[in-house]
């Protein structure tokens, strides 16, 4: 008999956190497989391909970023990295290396489960499930097919760049989208360092889409890393 529940591989060296993650996953309809080292994690990914990996960045035997790079050479399994605060550079490097999202320790269970859901949803879409051309969150509705954005039923006029940024965020809805990804996609690789372009456009987007642009609830800032469009 095959278990239909999504299988999550937890690569974490700290036993208490590993146990907490396993218990949380099992009580929330996931299968949990544990690995305490990067080596064991790699073997498990090869032998029993999981649906998702929760990867701690501070492993004793191999840097989590290197592990991500290695995995990405042959596997597209979603990876969510777990990292401490003040390690923004590590997070960016992990995301650049191919990680899908990150969680800052300590994190709440609700946050963890939301990330898992988002990651699995994106994986399903990547595997060919038809993407919904319509994205809706709060009172904002983005119709990718008709290139139409409405807020509270009223059409919102966006400039080409604003629209471009928004579509990228919608494609990654729920996940963090790094500055670099947004900049290289919208302005080209030459402008990958000009984060202030992005910041100015994000401020404009918030003016148009947020109820209170100074207290955004949809277009969230991940300080020093990127942006996240709330998806649920």
């Amino acid at each position: 008999m095959t278990d239909k529940r999504p299988q999550v591989l937890v690569i974490e060296d700290e036993p208490s956190l590993r146990r907490f993650l396993s218990v949380t996953l099992r009580t929330n309809d996931y299968q949990a497989v544990e690995a305490e080292t990067a080596q064991k994690g790699l073997e498990l990914v090869a032998s029993r391909p999981p649906d998702l990996i929760l990867l701690d960045l501070g492993l004793p035997d191999l840097d989590g970023i290197e592990l991500t790079e290695q995995l990405r050479q042959w596997s597209q399994v979603p990876i969510i990295v777990l990292s401490a605060r003040n390690r923004e550079t590590d997070k960016i490097r992990a995301l650049d290396a191919g990680a899908d999202d990150y969680l800052t320790k300590p994190f709440a269970v609700g946050e963890l489960l939301a990330r898992l859901r988002v990651a699995l949803r994106h994986r399903a879409r990547a595997q060919g499930a038809a993407g919904d051309p319509i994205f809706e969150v709060g009172d904002v509705r983005v119709d990718l097919a008709r290139r139409q954005v409405t807020r509270g039923g009223e059409e919102v006029h966006l400039t080409p760049i604003e629209y471009r940024i928004l579509t990228l965020l919608v494609q990654n809805a729920g996940k963090v989208t790094t500055h670099k990804h947004l900049l290289t996609t919208v302005w080209g690789p030459k402008h990958a360092g000009e984060v202030h372009y992005l910041r100015v456009y994000m401020a404009q987007l918030r003016q148009k889409l947020e109820a209170d642009p100074n207290r955004p609830h949809l277009l969230l800032t991940e300080a020093g890393i990127g942006y996240r469009l709330k998806s649920e």
Binding site: P160, I161, T185, R199, V200, A203, R215, T221
Partner: protein, 711 residues
């Protein structure tokens, strides 16, 4: 004394001692106010006089001065005499005398002037050994001093007979280069041509004047050696060319012999006088150079704070001034305090901290000599009493009897630093350097102590604070969790669902609280250690405020937040993560100290090159006199609502603001409440934005109709 001078010494110019120039400390425990002075010369006799003076001074228990007068004759001293002079001075120094080198035209007047100035009560002289006629002819220093001594006692001590005497200095030795002689011959030739013209129209007297003019010119220009030659040649030329019978050296009339003699003597006197004036000017120039060098050294040293920089500057200065290679050696700073520095007697392990541009390294012998100098606090090496054949000279840099370092000098030539004047200046330099080094060392030490004390205090406060603040939530978590665990499986005493939930919430709350504490402690530690590297980016303030508010979503609870930003607020160069933390801490502080339901206002204003941000609340305000203290570590206000932190949040804010070059302040608000204001400087301009519509790929992303144009 064996000094005599050709010219008659002028009566000593004496100023009456206007005030007692001797301090009680100097006078010592013996005869109050007594002070001896001994004159030193290169003569071997001088050593005996020094010893006698030392015996006298120690019997009377009074301070004594050994003085050497540098006169024009000094240049004529042989190598041997110079060595003996240095030795005599050194002997006096070793016997406890204060050694001074004076420079003057005549020994007697110089010594007397110094004696009056410095409150000397008795002068000790060596009895002259030369015959009486000598004194009559050339004058006697002893006689002159006795005559001009006034109320100063003079002791004349018998030296050993047979000491060599130097013939009196009629002529000041010449150091003119050979070229000067050639040039003076040219002047003579010109004078002769001129003399032919003069002879055509006037008489022989005018011809003599022309030649004398030439002599004066040469004496002024090239010194007295060439002038002497010119005098001789002028007489010869005058005789040969103008005195009848012409073009022979024969002289027709006897009176011309008087003319020749007169002309020669006048030439001689002129040249000697001019040379003396020149010498005095040179001396004055040298003195002025010395004092200005000392002054500039002192100035340069006073600007340096750091010991190594100070040593480097000192070495450069010495090398520059003396035209030699110089290096300062300091004991290795392996955490050794200044106090133990001077006391160190065994192998001091000196470290070369500075060298000149053409840096030289000490060989094994030099190093051991430097170590000897350091441990004995005594000069050694080239031309000194210790290892005089050594190629380099090592001078202790000492202050208050403590050797702080060693100045090693490697002169280009062996003569370079042998001059007493040079040596004295070098010692003066070293005294200054020593004092400056000691000052720097003490300053270092004081700073280290202060820093240590501060760290100690911080650690203690941190420890007590951490142990209390972390243990409290930890106790709650552990206690609650164990209670829940105990109840597990006991069906009979099973607690209500509501109670269970309450306990579980307490665990979460305690953990959340601990998390905040740990974050603050870590941030604080990073700021404390200067471990923060700013990654400034141009950011709209709204984004920073937005993300800070987002992080505080849960904690804001019933607090109302009003953000009021002007529309035209410029981008600010900020570190995004730190700036978010700054706003986060300020808002969190407001939440902590104000009752639920009150308003927290965030506003900003732009000024040229600056943005001011204010976070205002309607809480109890800042306690009186605590405007500064609220930013101090572990300061906690008296009116907290709910659980407070460690008292680090605002300290972190200040750290972040200051790291950005801004300022933060806290004031009470009219109408109640507190305002936390910080400024952020805006330097430069963000790179221009590309126009909207220019995309990476020319994708027809047009949205019709185009509503809002890009700003």
């Amino acid at each position: 004394m064996t000094f005599s001078l050709g010219s008659q010494p002028a009566p000593p110019a004496r100023d009456p001692p206007a005030e007692p120039t001797i301090s009680p400390d100097d006078a010592g425990p013996g005869a109050a106010g007594e002070r001896l002075l001994v004159c030193i010369s290169p003569s071997p006799l001088s050593a005996l006089v020094v010893q006698a003076t030392w015996r006298m001074a120690s019997r009377l228990r009074v301070p004594w001065v050994a003085a050497y007068v540098e006169t024009p004759q000094h240049a004529r001293l042989s190598q041997k005499e110079r060595g003996r002079l240095t030795q005599n001075l050194r002997q006096a120094e070793l016997l406890g005398a204060e050694v001074v080198t004076l420079s003057g035209d005549a020994v007697a007047s110089t010594v007397l002037a110094y004696a009056c100035r410095c409150g000397v009560t008795r002068i000790v002289l060596g009895k002259p050994t030369h015959p009486r006629w000598y004194d009559v002819l050339f004058g006697s220093v002893v006689e002159d001093i006795i005559r001009g001594s006034g109320d100063i006692d003079i002791n004349v001590i018998t030296g050993e007979p047979g000491a060599p005497t130097r013939p009196p200095l009629l002529l000041i030795p010449s150091q003119a280069p050979p070229l000067a002689y050639g040039k003076s011959a040219l002047v003579l030739a010109v004078a002769t041509v001129l003399a032919f013209f003069v002879d055509q129209f006037f008489g022989l007297t005018e011809v003599i004047m022309v030649y004398l003019l030439g002599i004066v010119l040469v004496a002024l220009r090239y010194g007295h050696g060439p002038a002497l030659l010119t005098s001789t040649l002028s007489v010869a030329a005058f005789n040969f060319l103008f005195v009848p019978p012409r073009y022979t050296f024969a002289v027709a009339e006897g009176r011309y012999l008087v003319t020749f003699t007169g002309m020669f003597v006048i030439g001689l006197v002129i040249s000697n006088l001019t040379a003396r004036v020149r010498w005095q000017a040179d001396m004055a120039l040298a003195r002025e150079r010395h004092s200005s060098a000392l002054y500039s050294l002192t100035r340069a040293l006073s600007r340096e704070r750091d010991t190594a920089a100070l040593a480097r500057r000192a070495a450069l200065h010495v090398a520059d001034f003396f035209g030699c290679q110089a290096m300062v050696l300091l004991p290795r700073r392996s955490g050794r305090s200044v106090a133990s520095l001077g006391a160190q007697r065994e192998a001091p392990d000196l470290e070369q901290v500075s060298g000149t541009a053409d840096c030289f390294t000490l060989d094994e012998r030099e190093r051991s000599l430097a170590e000897w100098v350091f441990s004995h606090n005594d000069i050694a090496g080239l031309g000194t009493g210790t290892q005089p054949q050594h190629p380099s000279l090592h001078v202790p840099l000492a202050s208050a009897d403590r050797c702080i370092g060693v100045l090693a000098l490697r002169p280009v030539s062996r003569q370079q630093l042998m001059e007493p004047a040079q040596r004295n200046l070098l010692i003066a330099f070293c005294d200054q350097i020593g004092m400056a080094l000691l000052r720097a060392l003490w300053a270092d030490e004081a700073q280290r102590t202060a820093r240590r004390a501060e760290r100690e205090e911080l650690r203690n406060t941190l420890l007590s604070s951490v142990s209390h603040d972390l243990r409290t939530p930890l106790a709650a978590i552990a206690g609650t969790a164990s209670t829940l665990l105990q109840q597990e499986g006991r069906a009979e005493t099973r607690m209500s669902e509501a109670l269970r939930r309450e306990l579980l919430e307490a665990i979460c709350e305690g953990a959340e609280h601990m998390n905040r504490l740990v974050i603050n402690l870590l941030d604080m530690t990073r700021l404390e250690f200067g471990d923060i590297q700013l990654h400034k980016e141009w950011i709209p303030l709204s984004e920073v405020i937005g993300s800070a508010l987002n992080r505080l979503e849960q904690r804001l609870g019933q607090h109302v937040v009003a953000v009021n930003l002007p529309a035209e607020l410029p981008l600010i160069p900020l570190d995004p993560v730190l700036a978010e933390q700054l706003l986060h801490n300020l808002i969190e502080n407001a939440i902590k100290y104000t009752p639920p339901g009150t308003l927290i206002e965030i506003s900003a204003a732009a000024a040229p090159n600056m943005v001011t941000v204010a976070v205002a609340d309607r809480g109890p305000g800042i306690p009186p006199d605590a405007e500064e203290r609220v930013f101090e570590k572990f300061f906690r206000g008296p009116y907290r609502h709910g659980k407070g932190g460690v008292g680090l949040g605002l300290t972190i804010c200040r750290g972040i603001v200051e790291a950005h070059g801004g300022q933060i302040s806290a004031t009470s608000r009219s109408g109640g409440g507190a305002v936390f204001c910080f400024t952020m400087p805006i330097e430069g301009e963000p790179p221009p934005m590309p126009p909207d519509g220019v995309l990476a790929e020319s994708a027809p992303d047009e949205l019709a109709p185009q509503g809002a144009p890009a700003p």
